[in-house]
């Protein structure tokens, strides 16, 4: 691929980036607004040597196929939208229990239940807290442009292999359906040793075992403590965020994905009215960029969390700033998106606190 920019939907760019990042195995099941990922993969994978596209009989089957490929050490992904991700939850827990690297994409739509098909961010809790049973985390990445969709797919696979865990790209209907100019040239792919992978012993080594069942509680506890040591390291080293006009800000917006794009407009508008407002945009939702918010709390007088949900990330901000400053919520739900005016009104309210 050349450096020349092309126009692609977020969903398509994500799929192409995954292939370029060396993911030649894709398992999925169609669901709006994610279907372009699977459609793109179905066209491209057969043209790749060893490429596999498989439309499984269900989301649950697809995530279990992901577990199978992941245990061989190959790059693998699946994608779905909110209701389909719920179905994959069991598999997400097994991936964590087996310490397997994989990329899982959630192009969120409104919920709960079948909900609707319009964009949402209401799976924030699911992604950052409760992706399945048991003590575990996934790395959660939230792109806010088609270009960042591409770079986070590369970074996501890298993190997954580096830490042997699942990375989730938490996208939404807008990010998936939107087209923007994008450059697909992303450089080299890091290689990691995978002595744990099931690649056949060739009678030269003891068999590897990939398993999440530990009947001795002492042993299971030990595995959990070890895993949480790894999580601690990730929380210290991997948070990513971007600041926008924070230098002199008195009000700090927190938003990710499409909410950050709307907030950018609102901030520009508020600045024209003389309100000093900026934004911290978390790129990693887990690990949450706690330190960025904690240090902002020393400078700003209030926060506004802009979300396409009933208010989920708002809790992480309150935890990060230890409730030192008020954290307001500007939200729409069920497939609705906050308007620039919605955000502006809340900025004005926050600036008067």
């Amino acid at each position: 691929m050349s450096h020349e920019k092309v126009l692609m939907k977020g969903n398509e760019a994500l799929a192409e980036a995954a292939i370029m990042a060396g993911c030649h195995h894709y398992f999925g099941y169609p669901i709006t607004p994610q279907t372009e990922v699977a459609a793109y993969m179905s066209k491209r994978m057969p043209k790749i040597d060893g490429g596999v596209f498989l439309q499984a009989e269900s989301e649950i089957a697809a995530i279990n196929m992901v577990i199978g490929v992941a245990s061989t050490g190959k790059r693998v992904m699946t994608s779905s939208s909110s209701p389909g991700i719920s179905l994959k939850s069991e598999g997400l827990s097994y991936l964590a229990g087996c310490d397997l690297p994989a990329l899982v994409v959630n192009v969120q739509r409104g919920g709960p239940g079948l909900g609707g098909i319009q964009p949402s961010q209401s799976d924030y809790f699911h992604a950052t807290r409760g992706a399945g049973h048991g003590d575990f985390h996934m790395i959660v990445l939230a792109p806010d442009s088609v270009q960042e969709m591409v770079s986070l797919v590369f970074h996501g696979f890298d993190l997954a292999e580096k830490y042997r865990m699942t990375t989730m790209i938490l996208s939404d209907g807008t990010m998936g359906q939107m087209m923007e100019p994008v450059s697909l040239d992303m450089g080299e792919i890091k290689q990691y040793d995978k002595p744990w992978a099931l690649t056949g012993t060739k009678c030269e080594r003891k068999p590897n075992i990939v398993n999440s069942l530990y009947l001795q509680p002492e042993e299971l506890e030990k595995r959990n403590f070890e895993r949480y040591e790894k999580y601690k390291l990730i929380e210290e080293t991997e948070p990513m965020f971007e600041e926008y006009k924070m230098e002199d800000a008195e009000v700090c917006i927190a938003a990710f994905g499409v909410a950050a794009r709307v907030s950018q407009n609102a901030i520009d508008e508020a600045r024209k009215q003389g309100i000093k407002v900026g934004m911290i945009r978390p790129i990693t939702l887990w690990p949450f960029p706690k330190k960025a918010f904690a240090s902002a709390a020393e400078k700003v007088k209030s926060f506004v969390s802009v979300e396409l949900s009933m208010g989920q990330m708002v809790e992480d901000i309150e935890l990060s700033v230890r409730c030192k400053r008020p954290v307001l919520l500007c939200n729409r739900a069920g497939g609705m998106i906050p308007t620039t005016q919605n955000v502006l009104d809340k900025i004005i309210e926050a600036s008067k606190l």
Partner: protein, 176 residues
Amino acid sequence: MTTQILIAGFGGQGILFSGKFLAYEGLIEGKELSWLPSYGPEMRGGTANCSVILSDTKVGSPIVLNPDVLIAMNGPSLDKYENETVSGGKIFVDSSLITRKVERSDVEAYYIPATKMASDEGLTGLANMIILGHAIKKANLVPYENIEKAMKKLVPPKKQHLLEPNLRAIELGYNY
């Protein structure tokens, strides 16, 4: 400078395609841009719309709520978005499908019987490009010399036979 464009009509009228033309033209010019469709069942016959933003600076929200340029290809779209158009904005109306006039006096209204022109000229299904051609001229959306380049980029190699009729349709609207 940022131009927010909203194209709206029925599914099947080529609403998304005409938006894509503007996006490809923006790509050629090296502009910042976004293209966002309404998605879902609208594609199969309901109302469809497409937000396109062309800008010299990074695009914020890709959702066009208050267009500078509105292209309305059916009555419900004009009813829905006339009042959302910015003051001083431009509204383009397919007058063969929409019988009423634009009621606001603080916008510039342009009427072109795009659907009728398409069928008269053997360009059935290309009313979208005819009305777009008119908007390109009157709202100065695209430099004339870029039209062919953008269209060549947009029409895939396998569908080259569609290039000429699409260009002819834009030309027709441009010169209306």
